[in-house]
Amino acid sequence: MTDALTPVLTDNWDAERAWTLAAYEERGGYAALDKAFAMAPDDVIDAVKESGLRGRGGAGFPTGMKWGFIPQDNPRPKYLVVNADESEPGTCKDIPLMMASPHTLVEGVILSAYAIRANTAFIYVRGEVLHVIRRLQRAVQEAYLAGHLGTDIHGSGYHLDLIVHAGAGAYICGEETALLEGLEGRRGQPRLRPPFPAVAGLYASPTVINNVESIASVPSIIANGPAWFAGMGTEKSKGFGIFSLSGHVRNPGQYEAPLGITLRELIDLAGGIREGHELKFWTPGGSSTPLLTPEHLDVPLDFESVGAAGSMLGTRALQLFDETTCVVRAVLRWTEFYKHESCGKCTPCREGTWWLTQTLARLEKGQGTEADLDLLLDQCDNILGRSFCALGDGATSPISSSIKHFRDEYLAHLTNGGCPFDPVASTAFAPAGASA
């Protein structure tokens, strides 16, 4: 069963002091630079295109194609910005990666910036993860000292400055244009598009914004070739990715596997669901992706199959909930998160999350009527696709999907006059065998 795993990004995480330059170089780190510098930048873009790498931040946009959008005849400087504002509930892949092996990201940044001809790159890290920021800063410093960053890198004549920027703690800054606003020193609120960042992004200049995992995958593609990468995964979702299992599973953590692996396989790898319990529902890619149920255990976890199952692959943040969990309670917590994180720019998200929270809170307490479920769905309909950015859309996913799959459980709250679940039973410290 361990054959299912393809450790590439996570391969060196167990090495002694894996985050240091010495440990990284010992395993051949930064060797891809010389290979890339021997290629024309456009050839690097072509290699990434050929590999089929798709954005690992959730949307799955082909990375090479995004790089190709940069107008190279634009006289303004080009920028590479790494989106390391990992804040989605359940998502925990970029932060462990930057913690365990920041040099993988730094090497990826150099290769990617070289490809798009940027001489300045930024890593925008969420501000709460101070320990990760420190690791990144040290890694960047080591890379400068070793000549991997700065002027005339490896004698290639190419120069690159890399700046680690700490965010101020806003989920919305994971939205790429809000991130750019934040990076420019303004309030994090999404920008009107067009113009798209590829044309006028950071400081109104052509800008590529990629997720940490996408950029970190580039060194392996350059080192091993696009065919090696494309040999993994499915036809349209190529390569590998980090699957983060959390919740009611015996060994939660990051499992790196080809896209297309199923949750059933991953749960097996993680030692199964919590002892004495069974899976009730799960998110495939964080709280913004609609819930799935045990009947979806064999859905291949690639962009197309998860989409066909009515959800989204997202960030492969697999949150697993067993039968002790009240779905209404879980959804309310998520909704409170979205209400707290709504930036306030547009009406549906700002006001909608305010109202959704109140309606859900009443339902959880057993107040309200069955009509409130239709009200909730109607509110979701008025938010989804009406908001300025995807935050509002994401806020509706857990609600509409949970009502779809667990309508009876909502009704049980009403007939029971409150939540029928024991909240302690779902906790990690619950006595073995506790049940609802």
């Binding site: 806003a170 919305i172 309030r187 009107l192 113009p195 209400k339 707290h340 994180e341 709504s342 930036c343 306030g344 720019k345 547009c346 009406t347 549906p348 700002r350 006001e351 909608g352 999350t353 305010w354 109202w355 109140q358 309606t359 009443r362 107040q367 309200g368 409130d372 009200l375 109607d378 509110q379 309909d381 008025n382 938010i383 989804l384 696709g385 009406r386 908001s387 300025f388």
Partner: protein, 825 residues
């Protein structure tokens, strides 16, 4: 990113699309929301404003786009305020699409969940876009309230400036106010803060919301979130009667709307005139109207008897005035720059026909013979430079003009032109004012009195003053001998067009009407016999005085000396004149003074006959703008006892004629005067040549003295801003500005921390004033102070025009003089 401010070639750049089944062709880049207006569909909106950049924040204007013009539709409704039209696009609005209608109803429902139900006490109730659109595009019952929803609440209103109040719970966060302040006014001192439903408009207390245009933010607020301290809770919109009008505070002629109730003006709003002020006016134009409602308004004629003024009937007052003027001997006329063109014409005709003199001047401010010559040769009958030209010109030169303070509408137009990157503003001024910085302007520094050299330097090609450039000349340039001639020469050499921008609404009209010693109505030069004959024939008099008259300064001198015995003063504040003390002395010395005034002043106190005149609200009239645009307006209020100046002058003229002096003026109403002016027409002969005249004696510079630069700030102690304390509280606090080196020479230390200002005393030949000192990019040896922001102003309390002043460290720095009335010592 703005898609509204381009000027597409209408003939070639048309795009055809279908909206609600109706085909329409609109210019390229038109936004769908405005294309829909062309087919008569009003899509509800809040954040959208045609003069602001699109933002797409409120989502109220969602429409269904089954075909974006490429055969594919958008899967979800789109915001029509950010979406440009495309050829072949199909748009279904709420009128034809259930999806669009539901989307709009959904957004409206969301907007209302946190909106308080205080419409019955809200100023906006009755004229509220939220209220109106909630009726047209919302549901009647609140599902939020029905489900026991709890609204977000905030304490009721907070001040974001002395004038602007914010009810945060009413705010729909459309960001119109913040975008206006940043994009149009250039005062980005309000911004959205916090997030989610707690987002709110906020200020930063160390950078207060100090803006001359804040009232526009109130006006474009689509809900009652922003209100003015002046108007809050004063009236209901449906009780108001609205009359269009023209702002009387500067020469820009901004269109305004005057809302009144039971004979009293309650508020003023910006009118919509794309050619002039678009939809914006300054706070002065908006809030400064209560000067007609203050307690010292004169409401009946008075005559002096035994040294005391007593009420009189109109016929008696006319008779007493006529007799007094006749007995006083030679008399002159002084009008301020505030009168309408019709009234100015009446003064001009009164002087010539009733008093047989050319001793008339409207310039109640420092002036010169050179200026009179300039007005006759280059201003009267001139035209051709318009607001639109300012935005089209590659370079606009400002000479002695600070548009943000002195011509606010010009400022906004220039700022917009500069923001688009089309126009470079070049200013000959003592320092880079905030207004100049906001226009991204280039400073050509000039020490007061040495402008001639600076203007001459603009001929250098590096400044880009070509035939496409526009030169705007402010009235202050008259203070420096030779400067107006230099401006004329600059225009002649470069081919650039020149326009004169006075400060007051009536100035340009007074030039055209002949309220000058060297000009007769219609630009006719006094020195031209043909012009005099022409006019005498039209007026039915035998002859007109042939000698060029005395100007304002000479009239004051002649009254004091006794060469003149009588004077008719209409709307002059002595403190505006070049020598206030001399002006007062002249009034005391005059044998007979007739005062036409709104309110009790030092002139009425000295007058032998006081005749109340109608404020602009009570009469029809015309203001001629700086660009020669006649802006006529009708009376707002019907006030039979309130007579325009021209009617009063006609009354005196008739009495004088009865006594055998002159002939009656031949008109009694505004309509009569308008007909007469129209019939008279402009002078079609040659324009007189510009004559700079002799330079005055240069004042001797005392050792260590500084040149004094000054102008009036937009909001200051001017009497037409009386009665509106909230407006006055938004005035920029008076400060003295000097160069860093001058600062150091006065205080012995370089400039300290910002915000921590030191006090200095400025002393001149008429007094001294103590003000906080700031450092700016002035030339060394120059100090700038505001002209009318402390005491009785610079001319009365500090220094004579062109004189030099001393600056010294003030002893007590612990009491920063931030009150508008600075300490005059």
């Amino acid at each position: 990113m703005s898609t509204t401010d381009k000027a597409p070639d209408l003939a070639t750049d048309l795009v055809t699309l279908t909206i609600d089944g109706v085909q329409v062709s609109v210019p390229k880049d038109t936004l769908v929301i405005r294309a829909a207006e062309q087919v008569g569909v009003q899509i509800p909106r809040f954040c959208d404003h045609p003069l602001l950049d699109p933002v797409g924040a409120c989502r109220q204007c969602l429409v269904d786009i089954p075909d974006a013009g490429n055969g594919r539709g958008f899967p979800k409704p789109q915001a029509s305020c950010t979406l440009p039209v495309a050829e072949g696009m199909v748009v279904n609005t709420q009128a034809t699409s259930e999806v669009a209608d539901k989307a709009q109803q959904g957004v409206m429902e969301f907007l209302l969940i946190n909106h308080p139900l205080d419409c019955p006490v809200c100023d906006k109730g009755g004229e509220c876009p939220l209220q109106n659109q909630a009726m047209s595009n919302g549901r009647g019952e609140s599902r939020f309230a029905a489900s026991g929803g709890i609204k977000r609440t905030f304490p009721k209103p907070i001040n974001i400036s002395a004038q602007v109040l914010l009810d945060r719970e009413r705010c729909v966060l459309c960001a119109r106010c913040t975008r206006f302040s940043e994009q149009i006014a250039g005062d980005p001192f309000i911004a959205l803060a916090e997030r989610g439903a707690l987002q709110q408009v906020a200020i930063y207390e160390r950078e207060p919301y100090q803006s001359y245009f804040s009232g526009n933010a109130i006006q474009i607020c689509p809900v009652g979130a922003l209100t003015s301290a002046d108007y809050r809770f004063r009236s209901r919109p449906f009780d108001l009667v609205s009359t269009p009008g023209v702002a009387e505070h500067d020469s820009c002629g901004a269109a305004i709307r005057i809302d009144h109730r039971r004979g009293k003006v309650m508020r003023r709003l910006a009118g919509n005139d794309p050619e002039v002020n678009e939809e914006w006016i300054s706070d002065k134009d908006r809030f400064a109207f209560r000067y007609t409602q203050v307690a010292d308004r004169i409401t009946y004629p008075q005559v002096r008897e035994d040294g005391v003024l007593r009420p009189a009937s109109w016929p008696e007052a006319f008779a007493v005035a006529a007799r007094g003027l006749r007995e006083a001997g030679a008399a002159a006329v002084l009008t301020g720059g505030r009168v309408t063109a019709e009234d100015a014409y009446a003064y001009a005709k009164f002087a010539r026909v009733a008093l047989s003199t050319n001793d008339i001047d409207f310039r109640a401010r420092p002036h010169s013979a050179e200026e009179a010559s300039f007005l006759a040769s280059h201003v009267a009958l001139s035209g051709g430079v318009t607001y639109a030209d300012l935005e089209a010109a590659p370079v606009v030169v400002l000479l002695g003009l600070e548009p943000e303070d002195e011509a606010a509408t010009i400022f906004l137009r220039l700022r917009r032109a500069a923001r688009r990157g089309r126009t470079q503003v070049v200013s000959v001024a003592p320092y880079s004012s905030r207004g100049l910085r906001k226009m991204n302007g280039r400073l050509v520094p000039a020490v007061p009195g040495a402008e001639v050299e600076a203007i001459g330097s603009l001929k250098d090609a590096a400044h880009g003053v070509t035939k496409d450039a526009v030169i705007l000349v402010g009235e202050r340039l008259a203070a420096t001998h030779g400067a107006l001639s230099a401006a004329v020469e600059l225009a002649a050499t470069t081919g650039a067009r020149l326009a004169w921008v006075p400060r007051r609404a009536g100035d340009r009209g007074a030039v055209e009407a002949g309220a000058l010693p060297n000009l007769l109505p219609g630009g006719r030069p006094v020195t031209e016999a043909a012009a005099r004959v022409d006019l005498a024939a039209a007026w039915g008099v035998e002859a007109l005085p042939a000698k060029v008259g005395r100007d304002g300064n000479a009239i004051v001198a002649a009254l004091t000396k006794g060469d003149l015995g009588g004077v008719v003063v209409g709307g002059v504040d002595p403190d505006d004149t070049s020598d206030p003390a001399a002006f007062r002395a002249a009034l005391a010395a005059a044998r007979f003074v007739v005062s036409l005034e709104l309110r009790a002043t030092d002139v009425t106190a000295a007058a032998d006959v006081v005749l109340p005149v109608a404020p602009v609200t009570d009469k029809a009239g015309t203001f001629v703008t700086w660009d020669g645009r006649p802006r006529d307006f009708d009376a707002v209020l019907s006030n039979p006892s309130s007579l325009p100046d021209l009617r009063v002058l006609a009354g005196i003229g008739e009495e004088l004629a009865r006594l055998g002096q002159g002939s009656s003026l031949g008109f009694r109403t505004v309509a009569d005067v308008r007909a007469e002016m129209r019939a008279l027409g402009p002078w079609d002969g040659a324009r007189p040549a510009m004559d700079a005249g002799k330079p005055p004696r240069a004042p001797r510079a005392k050792a260590g003295s500084l040149a004094l630069a000054t102008w009036k700030q937009l909001v200051d102690l001017g009497s037409m801003q009386d009665g509106e304390a909230h407006l006055r509280a938004t005035a920029r606090p008076p400060v003295a500005r000097v160069s860093p080196a001058t600062y150091e020479s006065v205080f012995g230390t370089p400039e300290g921390e910002p915000g921590h200002s030191r006090l200095a005393t400025v002393s001149g030949d008429r007094g001294s004033v103590t003000l906080p000192v700031e450092v700016a990019d002035l030339p060394d040896g120059v100090v700038w102070v505001p002209a009318r922001s402390f005491g009785r102003g610079v001319l009365a309390d500090l220094a004579s025009p062109g004189s030099r002043v001393l600056l010294r460290d003030a002893p007590s720095p612990d009491s920063p003089g931030h009150a508008l009335k600075g300490a005059v010592t």
